[in-house]
């Protein structure tokens, strides 16, 4: 679990510079101007309030899916099932949003809570199987993703609608869109979910760092045998960890359901919010602040990248390679630490040798 212990703010910064350089080289090789490309990337994410709003909208579910993966990581569990938990949470929030008519003060919190519960239950199942029967959580969560994808599609088709390919719009009383944010960034789909996401990050930090439960979860993650010996229930902690992780993911789904779209369509394939969450958690070193920053990076890259083909003429296939390279270098920051050690060692060896050489003469 070395990734958890990454320290020093300079490592991610150097990694991003390396990633940008690698992307620049790719663009040069194909005859495009990297400066124009990166300016287009930046403008695509921040040029007007609209784009800033869209970037924030994109970051919101990323923060939550990143937290979901990170939470399970802390207990030594690899929750690949965030994707499915997002879908389940999305469906649950839309279900509450469309099927009930309640005053906003009840409707909106209810939609959010049901989404968290739905995601939590979807996460609890693999947690239970892992704790009770030692089935590996990676296998179950991957399979649970497919179950979620196709079940959700079937429910949209047959339960929420009459063989339609999208649900009704959620009632306004269940929508996270708030006028002051929309006025600030006109026409964009930015919604109050970003506040929920930041509160969730705060909760994550508090729970992990400041509570007894958080301590136990971490302890189980570091060494389950020692924790058991110390009188902690490893099984209970595994189930709790997966359920809370799923809860974060369910909330991420609600961001799409009652925040961004306000409805749900049939999904051809996975949304990738959950899978990107794995990278975000690793990038962020499984800490709350790290996850928020990493989600920010993902959001900026994804939204800005849409502008590169239009403004700088870089084909979108290349854009995908470039953004992947940037993420790759950031994720491979461990490599950079190694490189640094090697360089320092080489340097000191060289110094020592030249000193010795001098003495021999």
């Amino acid at each position: 679990m070395k990734l958890q212990k990454l320290t020093g703010a300079w490592i991610p910064v150097v990694s991003i510079i390396f990633g940008l350089l690698a992307g620049a080289i790719i663009m040069l090789l194909f005859g495009y101007n990297p400066l124009a490309g990166y300016i287009a990337l930046w403008n695509g994410a921040f040029e007007t309030p609209y784009f800033t709003g869209e970037t924030i909208r994109l970051i919101t579910p990323y923060i939550l899916s990143g937290l979901a993966v990170a939470f399970a990581f802390r207990t030594g569990l690899l929750n690949i099932g965030v994707e499915g938990q997002v879908l389940v949470g999305w469906l649950a929030s839309v279900w509450v949003g469309t099927e009930f008519s309640l005053p906003m003060a009840i409707h909106l919190p209810l939609a959010v809570i049901v989404a968290i519960l739905a995601g939590g239950i979807w996460g609890f199942i693999p947690g239970y199987l892992k704790a009770k029967y030692q089935v590996h959580e990676v296998i179950i969560t991957i399979m649970m993703n497919y179950i979620a994808l196709y079940s959700v599609n079937a429910i949209i088709r047959n339960v929420l609608t009459d063989r339609d390919d999208r649900t009704e719009n959620v009632a306004e009383t269940a929508s996270l869109k708030v006028s002051w944010l929309s006025d600030l960034m006109p026409n964009s789909n930015v919604h109050a979910g970003i506040i929920l996401a930041l509160v969730a990050a705060l909760f994550y930090w508090y729970f992990i760092e400041k509570t007894k439960y958080g301590f136990e979860l971490k302890a189980v993650g570091y060494n389950p045998h020692a924790s058991q010996y110390a009188g902690m229930s490893v099984k209970r902690n595994i189930m709790l960890s997966m359920a809370i992780s799923g809860g974060f993911a369910g909330l991420a789904g609600a961001m799409e359901g009652i925040g961004n779209f306000g409805y749900m369509t049939l999904n051809n394939g996975f949304t990738n919010i959950g899978f990107d969450g794995i990278a975000i958690a690793l990038l962020g070193g499984n800490t709350a602040v790290g996850v928020v920053l990493a989600a920010g990076l993902f959001g900026v890259l994804k939204n800005g990248a849409l502008n590169m083909p239009l403004s700088a003429g870089v084909p979108h296939e290349l854009v995908d390679i470039i953004t992947a390279l940037i993420i790759f270098f950031v994720a491979a920051s461990y490599m950079i630490i190694l490189l640094r050690h090697k360089l320092i060692k080489l340097y000191t060896d060289f110094k020592n040798k030249s000193k010795k050489g001098g003495a021999n003469k």
């Binding site: 620049a24 495009y32 990297p34 779209f261 849409l306 502008n307 003429g313």
Partner: protein, 362 residues
């Protein structure tokens, strides 16, 4: 640490120098021997997740836009361009992006963009939008639709004439009113030739999952279906893959695919033969160019629904594969085409209409 700094500085310098070269290289390109037409408008398309190289619908739209660019001698990205969407959430972003880059006419390609086009159009009343394949509301939105049922009817006739096993197949993308139109027309065409021919209708529930398309095609061919008509965009590429695989293993195999949207003759080429019987060509490119021309002339059809069909060349049946698409089939198809155009045959557009149509045949 010092070494690292040095390394970084060197790399940065290299980038700056090379990027200067990059700029030089760009300016030498794009030299043209014609003058841009000053009446031209800045037009763009926003694709759905298929992208402009989907060998189908989006590609056809992009070809139409490129043809417009060439005709008026315009620079790509200056006066015309496209934005590709990889996810549903990107439709609105992309439409707004083009709007903010001063595009005057923006096409949303595919019915999945309906909500996004309506939202963005109402936010930007001064920009013109066109939605292809569905009807959107708004005074600054033109809706472009096609009489796919007519074209599908004709390829259904061809499929029925070609089939030896008496079983043909239909692979749809997402089960939706639009694709049901293809299905209804096709089944009606098949049954009109011979009501005893069975039609196996299945949906991939995706326009991009080629694996799913292939799976369905495999199970259809295994169950003695010999002609499959696909209306599934990228998922339909899987149907071609499977058919070509069978054909490559056994050159005598009697398997055929009917393409959609574009003439998919090239997709079906395997060794010396070709599995593409014909294609239901939906000239999205013609429609795109037509809407642009009307707009240049000052007649942007805002709030209207344009319907392209057999008569105006918006829908046609490809006859590229001369070996498979025999004269006999061609003449029969022509016969039915005339009947449709005369109004002798009313091609069904929904499953309900199809039921009535089929029961009238028997």
């Amino acid at each position: 640490m010092k070494k690292l700094n040095l390394l970084l500085t060197m790399l940065l310098t290299l980038t700056v120098i090379l990027s200067a070269c990059g700029t030089n290289g760009d300016s030498s390109e794009g030299q043209k021997d014609c003058e841009p037409d000053s009446s031209a408008i800045k037009a763009g398309i926003v694709t759905d997740e298929g992208g402009v190289d989907d060998k189908s619908f989006n590609q056809s739209a992009w070809e139409g836009l490129k043809a417009y660019g060439e005709e008026y001698c315009l620079d790509k990205d200056e006066m015309y361009g496209y934005a590709q969407s990889n996810q549903d959430s990107e439709y609105e972003s992309n439409l707004t992006r083009l709007t903010q880059q001063d595009y005057e006419l923006i096409f949303g390609i595919g019915f999945k963009l309906k909500d996004a086009v309506q939202t963005v159009a109402s936010q930007n009343p001064d920009t013109k939008y066109a939605l292809v394949d569905d009807v959107a509301e708004g005074d600054n939105v033109a809706s472009v639709t096609f009489k796919e049922h007519q074209g599908s009817f004709l390829v259904g006739v061809a499929a029925a004439l070609k089939s030896e096993t008496g079983k043909v197949g239909f692979v749809g993308g997402i089960d939706s009113p639009l694709i049901n139109k293809f299905e209804a027309g096709y089944v009606a065409g098949v049954k009109s030739v011979d009501p005893s021919i069975e039609v196996d209708v299945r949906y991939a529930e995706s326009f991009s999952d080629a694996g799913k398309g292939r799976q369905i095609a495999k199970s259809m061919y295994d169950s003695n279906v010999d002609v499959i008509y696909h209306a599934a965009g990228g998922a339909g590429n899987g149907v071609f893959t499977e058919a070509k695989d069978i054909k490559a293993g056994d050159s005598e195999a009697n398997v055929w695919v009917i393409g959609v949207d574009r003439d998919q003759y090239e997709e079906g080429s395997v060794d010396d033969s070709n599995v593409t019987l014909t294609s239901m060509v939906k000239r999205v490119d013609v429609a795109v160019q037509d809407v642009i021309k009307r707009t240049i002339e000052g007649n942007f059809p805002g709030g209207e629904v344009l319907e392209y069909g057999l008569a105006d060349g918006g829908i046609s049946v490809a006859d590229t594969n001369e070996e498979a698409y025999t004269d006999e089939i061609a003449s029969k198809v022509k016969e039915w085409k005339e009947k449709i155009q005369n109004g002798d045959v009313e091609v069904p557009q929904t499953r309900e209409e199809l039921e009535g149509f089929v029961s009238n045949l028997e």
